[in-house]
């Protein structure tokens, strides 16, 4: 029977603080970056027209349940017909939470977003 090492062999004095030092590091890092701004993965709400904001709010909640908002916003889709198929496919995902009545406002925001993207590309 092998004698097991004692607690003392791996836990020098002060070592109990190690986990909390790392927790403190992570928390402080998060707070620092949280205060530093950043572009985020969604859309700057302040830059949206007033009438599009409720539609974006619905889109941002419904379409980030299973994945980040970068997925749809980076997809490169700008065609309304493509969006309709895309959103239908997502609506049918299990437990998507996207009701049939959610589809029109989500598509309305994506139409706005696509037009903005096209305008930006045309202007660049």
């Amino acid at each position: 029977m092998t004698e097991r090492p004692s607690e003392r062999t791996w836990r020098p004095s002060g070592a109990k603080l190690v986990p909390w030092v790392f927790v403190a590091l992570v928390v402080s890092t998060i707070l620092v970056v949280a205060c530093s701004g950043g572009r985020g993965e969604g859309v700057d709400v302040a830059a949206l027209p007033e009438d599009v904001r409720p539609e974006y709010q619905l889109f941002s909640v419904r379409c980030s349940k299973c994945h980040s908002l970068a997925r749809p916003l980076q997809s490169g889709i700008t065609d309304d017909a493509y969006w309709a198929i895309y959103v239908e496919r997502m609506r049918r995902q299990p437990s998507s939470g996207i009701a049939p009545s959610d589809v029109p406002p989500i598509l309305a925001f994506l139409h706005y977003f696509s037009q903005e993207q096209l305008a930006r590309r045309g202007g660049s």
Binding site: P19, G40, A70
Partner: protein
């Protein structure tokens, strides 16, 4: 190399076919995560030893995935996904969906059968911690070999068929379901004592026995308001895993997820009962209770919260754990210590954050406090892990 080349050729071939098909929509997506795990409470290199990765995998790991979705018609679609991780390339998805209605979709090919709520988010771009909850771990946990990972790895791609669908009752209640038959988990050992997850990802994608594993899932989603909902789900899976169809495994799971505006709170509980061949009682560390066949159970659970602090920062918290009851294999060398007992547990407390530099590029940072019920050969019952990762999605 040969396996990787074949998988890449398959993807390229499907992409070419898709380009020629009268597809309504083709969508290509991918993700890459580089994660660094540091375990400062362990001496030396966790990856060293006779069996690489005996204790865990500290250092850099990469997970990458490329996915192609094709809507061939209003009823027919196909998905192919190849991922790259610790063991090289793996065919994560290669299936067709034939949808008759929202309530009836036939899926055939290679896919992860519907089990639990995490599986839908198993891609590194879809969860904000660097690693998966312990019940779904597939190699990033400490003492992974001793515990043979979690309850069920995620993803767990398998060959088979699934019928699934969903139905909305008005605009506030959604019910979805899935039933499936797949090859199931395997073990080609002479005296199997647990599922061999490595055999599920081996390139020889053929069942080791003739009997499929069957399973089902049902979930209810209820809107709690315009921007909030709750999902309650239950899942089950049953099959045999040995060549002779003598040893069974059964996995049950329950999950509850709250979505309150951008805040997510998720809870899952899984339990697996696995029969093991005890013909050779000398393999086991404890006296064999029932000669020929015995069983152990492994339970796993997690609760986690994702709270956006700003447009670019999310605060993450998670408590997860595993609990194992039953006999276990004794070490080949009598001097070695197996940090298991008839009842063993792991508890892990994680705190982290996710920072989006810009759309599609995130940093993940987290720290973990591990508490084990059993000491390892260095006397450890507590460890600390630190993860730092970058993830890109496109």
């Amino acid at each position: 190399m040969r396996r990787s080349a074949i998988l890449l050729m398959c993807v390229a071939a499907i992409a070419l076919v898709a380009a020629k098909a009268f597809a309504v929509d083709r969508n290509f997506a991918g993700s890459i995560q580089l994660d660094y795990l540091f375990v400062p409470t362990e001496h030396g290199n966790l990856n060293a030893g006779e069996d690489v990765g005996t204790y865990g995998f500290d250092g850099f790991t990469i997970e990458a995935a490329e996915k192609l979705s094709v809507d061939v018609s209003n009823h027919l679609s196909a998905n192919v996904k190849v991922c790259f991780g610790c063991h090289g390339f793996e065919l994560d998805m290669a299936y067709v969906d034939y949808r008759v209605a929202d309530e009836f979709n036939l899926r055939a090919g290679r896919f992860s059968p519907s089990f639990g709520s995490f599986n839908l988010r198993h891609d590194v771009g879809n969860y904000k911690f660097s690693d998966k909850p312990l019940p779904y771990d597939m190699g990033r946990m400490l003492r992974m070999r001793t515990w043979n990972m979690g309850v069920i790895p995620s993803p767990f791609p398998d060959n088979g068929v699934e019928v699934n669908g969903s139905h909305w009752f008005g605009d506030s209640t959604e019910i979805d379901y899935a039933v499936y038959a797949v090859m199931g988990f395997k073990s080609t050992d002479t005296h199997p004592h647990d599922l061999r997850f490595d055999e599920s990802r081996m390139p020889y994608y053929v069942d080791d026995n003739a009997r499929p594993t069957v399973g089902a899932r049902v979930a209810l989603t209820q809107k709690l308001g315009g921007l909030s909902d709750v999902t309650i789900g239950a899942s089950g899976m049953y099959g045999t895993y040995d060549r002779n169809n003598q040893l069974t495994y059964a996995i049950l799971g329950g999950d509850v997820s709250f979505r309150i505006r951008r805040t997510s709170i998720r809870m899952e509980y899984l339990v697996r009962r696995t029969e093991m061949d005890t013909t050779d009682a000398t393999d086991f560390a404890l006296p064999v209770a029932s000669p020929g066949k015995d069983a152990f159970t492994k339970q796993g659970a997690y609760i986690e919260i994702e709270q956006p602090l700003s447009a670019s920062v999310d605060l993450l918290g998670r408590v997860d754990g595993l609990y194992r009851i039953g006999n276990y294999l004794k070490p080949e060398d009598e001097d070695d210590v197996v940090p298991l007992a008839r009842r063993s547990s792991i508890l892990r407390y994680s705190l982290g954050g996710s920072y989006a530099f810009e759309r599609g590029f995130r940093m993940k940072l987290s720290t973990e406090l591990w508490q084990f019920s059993d000491r390892d050969e260095d006397g450890h019952r507590i460890d600390v892990g630190v993860h730092a990762a970058f993830v890109g999605t496109y």
